[in-house]
Symmetry: C2
Subunit: 332 residues, 2 copies
């Protein structure tokens, strides 16, 4: 056993609807010895993401759920404290799915070193899974072409904020959908989208129409539900809907029922769900391009930072309710 004491956040209950603080346990534990090829890692940054809500359910999904009593899953940037692997030196910064905890012992092959040109936390956002997700949905699934109109929901989120900025780099009109005037202001004034619409506004449909005078060629869907249903009415013929997330569904006990599905045929739309992990081959290309854009200052990002592992459950619940601005992180 290592002398280091670990702290972990574990799943206590499977929530019905919105998660609560009592659905998590915060537990002290010990760490195993560092074996051959393994590393002792001190976690520095933990990413909090909407998909984690899905992992708290027992329903079949694209990955198995977190078991009751297990450490919550999550991407982490960590520092190597001890190394029994010649590919890693003490002090290296690495990325891995290491979970909601302060330390871990992992084999070197389960983590990768991060690009030193990029700020550490950005490896969990702009130059991490959310950035690659934006590239896959926009370019691979969405087949976005210069001159087209891209709409993205959750525009102020870690993925959505990247979608619009990459769309702009690629020569598209970028329209965001976000919750509340402050987020909408940041999306246009700071992130450079052409427009952003508050989905809470009473005249959402009219605003959407005004913001997409040429219709919509690609809708990057992070939310599902009624917003997606409305978007179908604005799609151009042969438009693409990249279905990336369903944040509006995660905490609903009854699914929203789509009424505009006939438009899939009438407009010959393609609606396709995707998960970034299915596109492993595309990661190196995307990460290299994203790191370059960040290094050149072409991509801006906001972060909301919670301090300390014990703050993670509350920060997670807040994120699901839209309290964060940009990428939600925990500094450990």
């Amino acid at each position: 056993m290592s002398a280091v004491r670990n702290v972990q956040v574990r799943l206590r209950n499977r929530p019905q609807g919105w998660p609560q603080l009592t659905d998590f346990d915060i537990v002290e534990s010990s760490l195993p010895q560092v074996g051959d090829g393994e590393l002792l890692l001190r976690h520095r940054w933990l990413s909090l993401d909407p998909y984690m809500r899905g992992r708290m359910n027992d329903a079949p999904s694209y990955v198995p759920p977190v078991a009751l009593g297990d450490v919550m899953c999550g991407e982490v940037i960590a520092e190597v404290l001890e190394s029994n692997n010649e590919r890693f030196a003490v002090g290296d910064r690495v990325y891995g799915d290491l979970g909601w905890q302060q330390y871990s012992v992992r084999h070197g092959k389960t983590v990768r070193k991060v690009d030193p040109r990029v700020p550490e936390s950005a490896n969990l956002g702009a130059v991490g899974m959310p950035g690659v997700t934006a590239c896959v949905g926009l370019l691979v699934i969405g087949q976005t072409q210069a001159g087209q109109t891209v709409v993205v929901s959750g525009a102020m989120g870690a993925v959505g904020s990247m979608v619009g900025q990459i769309a702009k780099i690629k020569g598209c009109r970028a329209v965001g959908i976000a919750g509340g005037p402050e987020k909408c202001r940041i999306v246009t004034a700071e992130l450079g989208f052409d427009a952003c619409i508050d989905y809470k506004a009473a005249d959402f449909r009219e605003q959407l129409k005004a913001a997409t005078p040429q219709g919509v060629d690609v809708y990057f869907d992070n939310v599902g539900g009624e917003i997606s249903d409305t978007l179908l009415t604005r799609m151009n013929d042969f438009g693409r809907v990249s279905v990336c997330g369903l944040i509006s569904h995660y905490n609903e006990t009854e699914a929203y029922r789509m009424k505009n599905m006939r438009l899939i045929l009438v407009k010959r739309l393609k609606m396709q769900g995707f998960i970034v992990f299915d596109h492993r081959d595309y990661y190196p290309t995307a990460l290299k391009e994203l790191a370059q854009w960040v290094a050149e200052g072409k991509i801006r990002y906001r972060e909301t930072i919670a301090e300390g592992l014990r703050a993670a459950p509350e920060a997670f619940i807040g994120m699901l309710r839209g309290a964060n601005i940009g990428k939600q992180l925990v500094r450990l």
Copy 2:
């Protein structure tokens, strides 16, 4: 003016819900002179298809609606009675979108000669638009591979019956969905599908599950609505839904609301609407292959034949209600 008297079926009213006989006018009229490059055509076979119901509405769709007072649109096999076009001889059989009428005068470039190896009426079905539609949805949109499971709704219809037979030729498991035990019997016993499920059966879901032990890779959707919603629950990861028709929607005044849309993401499905007319380049390839299969006896088809143009409205309404077995035709 030609001496020939024409009879036409024109659209009188736009139906709300199910069309009625009183929505059509049957009118005698004269024909224009046959100009340069033009043909006088005697119509021999008229095709009746579900998409025509959509054209009776004023709602925006992929093609403009039939105007009130205009001849109903429809594909026809005709005989050349007079020719002012060197590419056509008297007696040639041609295919064209010539409408619900007994005669027409058209320029030669708006029709094409049909394959003489194939029975005349089959050029409106197996070796016509329905056959090409089946190929596009199954092979181009659905990317069907040998060994996979294909499910098709409207399995006894002109398109659906081709989908399952082509799936079998391509080495797939073919499962049909049809209305009533007699249609289901024909789909398996005559058309050679592996299974066929009656959507009117109380245990439809259980039958579907039993008929697709390996799940569903391609769902060829001719109906939309609740059947499609149920199919989503049987799709395999990365499955494709080719949306070809929405017969269940055409006569409903309120759209069915899909509740299983989250499965698009969870299973990374692709749902894509298509219209055969968008795939003009693919026609010659498909027609050649289809004619070959029919000539070799690899494709079987049923026809329901109404006699005379005046019977067309009633036959059309019957087809929408599922009274036909196989391709619905009118012999003129």
